[in-house]
């Protein structure tokens, strides 16, 4: 078990930071739900998606999967697909910002909107920035020593996983977000960014087959590479369908005017 020996320094990653973070996110959403104005209806599907997203993220961060991921690259990659791709789709479709803005008193809600309209937020939320943060993070993780270091230092482990979730959220929100943004680039623009990001994901996945990350045995790297390639496709399919469905709805032609309804003469 040479592989195990390499990862001995840290032991199992502690679940506690994540239990606290995910529970807080769940609690905040619940407070938002309770504080909704009586007059407004909140779509229960959004609530369901938000909590499903927290569960999926939890599965990647708490329990048997992160423990197995200490020694198994395939388990690590399963966690990556759940935390960086599937959980963000569910969380984004929970529309947490919209919920929060509605729950706050009007004055504070306006102040939050002003804060969110700052150029810094617009820059980070831009599709290109979000894609670079997302794919760049993965490239750094798998092509430098970071993957090995992550398994030796608890703090690095938390930071890397937080980055995967946050960057995944930003990217997904830039593509299919329901929450209001200052400026959303056109569908074609976003489609190009989406395809390029998916392309980089496929390139990274397949290159892991040939060039395993530091400390990962060849056979594990190959299995993990194929899981990233095809598993990524599966989650991307969900993202693409939602993206195209939003386009289809947004481009719905205006209802035909029945000639009889027109004023005569």
């Amino acid at each position: 078990m040479t592989d195990h020996a390499q990862h001995q320094t840290m032991g199992h990653p502690s679940p506690w930071p994540w239990i606290v973070i995910l529970a807080t996110l769940g609690l905040l959403y619940a407070i938002g739900l309770v504080r909704q104005p009586q007059s407004k209806h909140w779509n229960p599907w959004r609530t369901l998606r938000w909590y499903a997203g927290l569960l999926v993220a939890g599965a990647a961060l708490i329990g048997p999967l992160p423990v197995a991921a200490q020694t198994s690259f395939v388990a690590h990659m399963t966690g990556h697909l759940l935390l960086g791709m599937l959980a963000p789709i569910l969380l984004v479709l929970g529309a947490p910002i919209t919920l929060g803005l509605r729950a706050l008193p009007v004055a504070r809600s306006r102040r939050c909107v002003r804060l969110l309209s700052q150029p810094a937020f617009a820059l980070v939320a831009h599709p290109v920035t979000a894609a670079v943060l997302n794919m760049g993070g993965l490239a750094v993780l798998y092509t430098t020593d970071l993957y090995r270091i992550m398994h030796e230092h608890a703090l690095v482990h938390v930071v890397v996983h937080a980055h995967v979730l946050l960057a995944g959220y930003l990217f997904t929100a830039a593509m299919i977000g329901l929450d209001p943004v200052i400026h959303r680039p056109s569908y074609l623009y976003r489609a190009v960014v989406l395809v390029l990001a998916m392309g980089v994901h496929s390139i990274l996945a397949k290159s892991l087959y040939a060039y395993p990350p530091a400390g990962v045995p060849g056979d594990q790297a190959q299995a993990g590479s194929m899981l990233m390639y095809y598993g990524g496709d599966a989650v991307d399919l969900v993202l693409i369908v939602i993206f195209c469905a939003q386009w289809f709805r947004a481009t719905r032609p205006p209802p035909r005017i029945v000639p009889a309804a027109l004023p005569s003469g």
Binding site: Y187, L188, M198, K206, T251, P253
Partner: protein, 156 residues
């Protein structure tokens, strides 16, 4: 081009071609993946002769074809919604897209970039020949259908 304004910026004919071509690219890539990688196991996920540029090309085309498949179907639904479907024009797009993708895969990715070969442990040239001739035939058929659509009187 903003897809939201496609009604104004592109004609119905072009939209039929785009939808067909995207589905053609997606279908060719799907057959490649499902039949040759997964069922026959002729193609290999990675080949020791795969070049760096081959990896990049593979990843990008993989992403393009995956997105194209879904986008093509939504575009198709959009065309039908606007009563703008032109069967011959759409099929010409599909054949052009599928043929172009297969020719690129067969000539550039398999041969120039050495991504992987069609099959291993066999005399390769008949496979390459059949692969690329089929691709060329699809492109020719696509051009013929395109011309037939262009010469047909516009149906009301």
């Amino acid at each position: 081009m903003d897809l939201r304004n496609h009604d104004r910026t592109t004609t119905a004919g072009a939209r039929n071609t785009i939808s067909g071509a995207l589905l053609g690219i997606g279908a060719a890539a799907f057959v490649d993946e499902a039949v040759f990688h997964q069922i026959l196991h002729w193609h290999h996920f990675y080949d020791k002769s795969t070049t760096e540029v081959g990896l990049v090309s593979d990843g990008l085309f993989h992403a393009v074809s995956w997105f194209a498949t879904v986008a093509a179907l939504f575009l198709f639904a959009d065309i039908r919604r606007g009563n703008a479907f032109r069967r011959v024009r759409w099929w010409s797009g599909l054949l052009l897209g599928a043929g172009a993708f297969q020719l690129y895969d067969g000539l550039v990715q398999h041969k120039l970039m050495g991504l992987h070969q069609i099959r291993y442990g066999v005399e390769l040239w008949p496979y390459d020949l059949v692969w690329n001739v089929i691709a060329a035939l699809m492109i020719v058929a696509g051009i013929i259908l395109y011309r037939r659509d262009a010469s047909a009187p516009p149906s009301a």
